[in-house]
């Protein structure tokens, strides 16, 4: 009797599980999932916030207008902590969950390995932040970005240094990461072409806290301008310790340092830092309503990756609408051939997935974490 009874229970359980699976599968088809892959923890999580904030706003606003082809978008946040290894794990998760669209990753170092999986698995990826040129040099079909590249950003900085600053002795420092070293090399190349040879080109360690020896060396060599390729935690300490040692060279960095935290770390030493950033899209009158929507949620739309992330989601939504398919490969094709009106302006893509046009602007950073355009 017990045997028979347990068999009943078993079959009931199996049925429940099967039914359960069925309903899960059905639920998945009701929404179009978009993975937001980037750091929500770790030392550069601030940038991840900008990306998530922009992308989520786009998802919300598109859903409020009725979604895409009758379906709602669903954002799935995945944390890669800006670690290449974790980024691959995240990419595998995305593959396993059969998500077809990705906004991310944020750091170039984690975007590069993840992009290979997306290409192989036919997943459509737009990064709103990774600027290393190598990412689109792989000639992938599925990989796009709504931000400029370091071979645009580096020359912008390099030309400004060589043409306007004209330092007597220039030092170029980087953090030996794909992003930081990549952009430092671009700057190095540009200033050399203009006839300025840096007196020093060196790498520091990610996570290093003591820069006193390096600062002493630059001070002795009479360096009066420093370009730093990397992120804000290291530059913050570098600025602070430079001021402490009485080394008063001017510093400049890429968009990876343009973050409120640089002022929290460096305090008054962050005054006068030069930063290349995407133009401040939130100042564009065309985006006034969007900026209001962010402010209503008490969010800050001025971060460099907020609008590019918003644009990424919008491009996906527009492409799905226009092609009436969720086939990521067809969508990649469509995106490559058409142009889109987004908060970062009218965008169109080159064959390799880069934007046809993108402008970096040089800003003067202030100790109270605000910025004003130079010129």
């Amino acid at each position: 009797m017990t045997n028979k009874f347990s068999r009943h229970i078993l079959s009931a359980a199996v049925t429940t599980i099967l039914l359960g699976l069925g309903s899960v599968a059905q639920a998945a088809e009701d929404t179009i999932k978009i993975a937001l892959a980037g750091p929500t923890t770790g030392p550069v999580a601030q940038y991840g916030d900008m990306q998530m904030m922009g992308a989520k706003m786009a998802v919300e606003q598109i859903n409020a207008k009725g979604g895409v082809n009758g379906k709602k978008l669903e954002a799935v946040v995945m944390d890669d902590a800006c670690e290449p290894k974790q980024a691959v794990a995240v990419a595998n998760q995305i593959v396993n969950q059969k998500i077809k669209f990705v906004i991310g990753h944020l750091c170039s170092g984690s975007t590069q390995p993840a992009s290979k999986l997306y290409e192989d698995e036919g997943i459509f990826m737009i990064t709103p932040a990774a600027t290393n040129p190598a990412i689109t040099q792989q000639k992938y079909k599925m990989v796009f970005r709504t931000i400029g590249t370091d071979d645009q950003q580096g020359p912008t900085a390099g030309k400004y240094i060589a043409g306007t600053v004209k330092p007597k002795k220039l030092a170029v420092i980087h953090d030996k990461q794909q992003y930081g070293e990549g952009i430092a090399k671009e700057v190095d190349k540009t200033v050399k072409a203009a006839g300025i040879t840096p007196v020093l080109f060196e790498g520091i360690n990610k996570g290093q806290t003591d820069f006193s020896a390096l600062i002493t060396k630059m001070k002795k060599d009479g360096v009066d301008f420093v370009y730093y390729g990397g992120y804000h935690p290291e530059l913050g300490l570098l600025l602070r310790q430079s001021r402490e040692q009485g080394f008063d060279a001017k510093y400049m960095g890429p968009e990876g340092v343009g973050n409120k935290d640089i002022s929290a770390i460096a305090g008054p030493a962050s005054e006068g830092l030069l930063v290349t950033l995407p133009a401040d899209f939130s100042a564009d009158p065309a985006n006034a309503d969007l900026v209001k929507a962010f402010k209503a949620k008490n969010e800050d739309p001025t971060g460099p990756f907020v609008m590019p992330a918003y644009a990424g989601v919008q491009i996906i939504a527009d492409a799905i609408k226009a092609t009436k398919t969720e086939d990521a490969v067809k969508i990649a094709d469509y995106v490559r051939k058409n142009s889109f009106q987004t908060p970062i302006g009218k965008v169109a893509f080159k064959d390799n997935g880069d934007l046809k046009e993108f402008e970096f602007v040089i800003f003067n950073w202030h100790a109270d974490a605000t910025k004003t355009p130079v010129k």
Binding site: K176, G203, P233, E244, I265
Partner: protein
């Protein structure tokens, strides 16, 4: 580059000594535990990280209460951080080492690594994984040298770090050398079984060792948060690795060795940055370690009879 400058050389020595003092303070925690139970406490880097967090919180808190006297800030912060961090040290010993006292040596090693991972994630969940920063409390310093040329700069903070390091190390040496408890420590380090037979409560001595090591790590943590002003849950790993290297370099198990090892490591990094390339500072530091161990397998001041894990 533009030649050798004596003043720059002096400045690099000062830079190296400051860095080395911090390494030395952390290194003592490794060396003391090794000297007494012959095992490496892999959770020590995390203990230091907790010390730095407590230091940063207390200093920020005191600032909110309007305490600005540097002596008061220093004393209160050191006291609270030593207390909190010391109890973490005690807990690590109680949970990860004491229950495994009789087991093979690898077992407590693994449990210590477990504690290290636990503490890192625990702080990450409690405090967030981001950098926490603070503006310097003590600024300013002395400048020496020609007004128009290269000036040697010694900040008050660097002097403070050196003074506090020397004071705590002197205190520790006196404690180990003169006090009853210190004698018990030395007895345990010589022969734990025999010390036990003679009526020394070895469990208590071992617990004390962990607490003392943690207290010095707390001092290092407070100094680091005052000097650099940037703390995150991951700083323990690199600092722990460097301090462990310093302890091995000086001769693990030897307290003066840990001090010397820390200073040598700090100077090596500083000079490598100054006269080679900054990229090479770790290469130089670890090559030095390998060289020293090739010539003197027990480290600079290690006793030849110490057995290795």
């Amino acid at each position: 580059m533009s030649g050798f400058s004596f003043l720059e050389f002096i400045q690099q020595i000062i830079n190296g000594l400051t860095l080395g003092s911090i390494y030395a303070l952390i290194a003592i925690g490794y060396t003391m535990v090794y000297g007494i139970i012959g095992m490496i406490n892999f959770a020590h880097g995390e203990i230091y990280m907790i010390g730095a967090y407590v230091g940063l919180m207390v200093i920020t808190g005191l600032g909110l209460f309007g305490v600005h006297s540097i002596t008061a800030i220093l004393l209160v912060t050191l006291a609270i951080s030593i207390l909190v961090t010391g109890s973490y040290g005690w807990t690590v010993e109680r949970l990860a080492y004491r229950p495994l006292r009789g087991s093979p040596r690898l077992v407590p090693l693994i449990s210590a690594i477990g504690v290290s991972i636990f503490l890192q994630n625990y702080v990450q969940i409690g405090q967030g994984a981001r950098d926490v920063s603070m503006q310097p409390v003590l600024t300013g310093g002395w400048r020496f040298g020609p007004a128009d040329g290269f000036q040697v700069y010694v900040s008050y903070m660097q002097v403070l770090i050196a003074v506090i390091t020397v004071a705590f190390m002197g205190g520790l040496t006196l404690f180990i050398g003169r006090s009853r408890m210190g004698r018990a420590c030395r007895a345990c380090s010589e022969d734990r079984g025999m010390a036990n037979l003679l009526g020394i409560d070895t469990d208590r001595v071992i617990a004390l060792t962990f607490v003392l090591g943690a207290a010095l790590a707390a001092v290092a943590g407070v100094l680091v948060s005052m000097y650099y002003g940037l703390v995150n849950p991951f700083i323990g790993f690199i600092a722990g690795l460097k301090a462990f290297t310093a302890a091995v370099l000086g001769g693990i198990g030897s307290i003066p060795g840990a001090m010397l090892g820390g200073i040598v490591l700090g100077l090596a990094e500083s000079f490598a940055s100054a006269y080679l390339q900054t990229e090479y500072k770790d290469v130089v530091a670890f090559s030095l370690l390998i060289l020293v161990l090739l010539v003197r397998p027990t480290g600079l001041l290690g006793r030849p009879d110490v057995e290795k894990v």
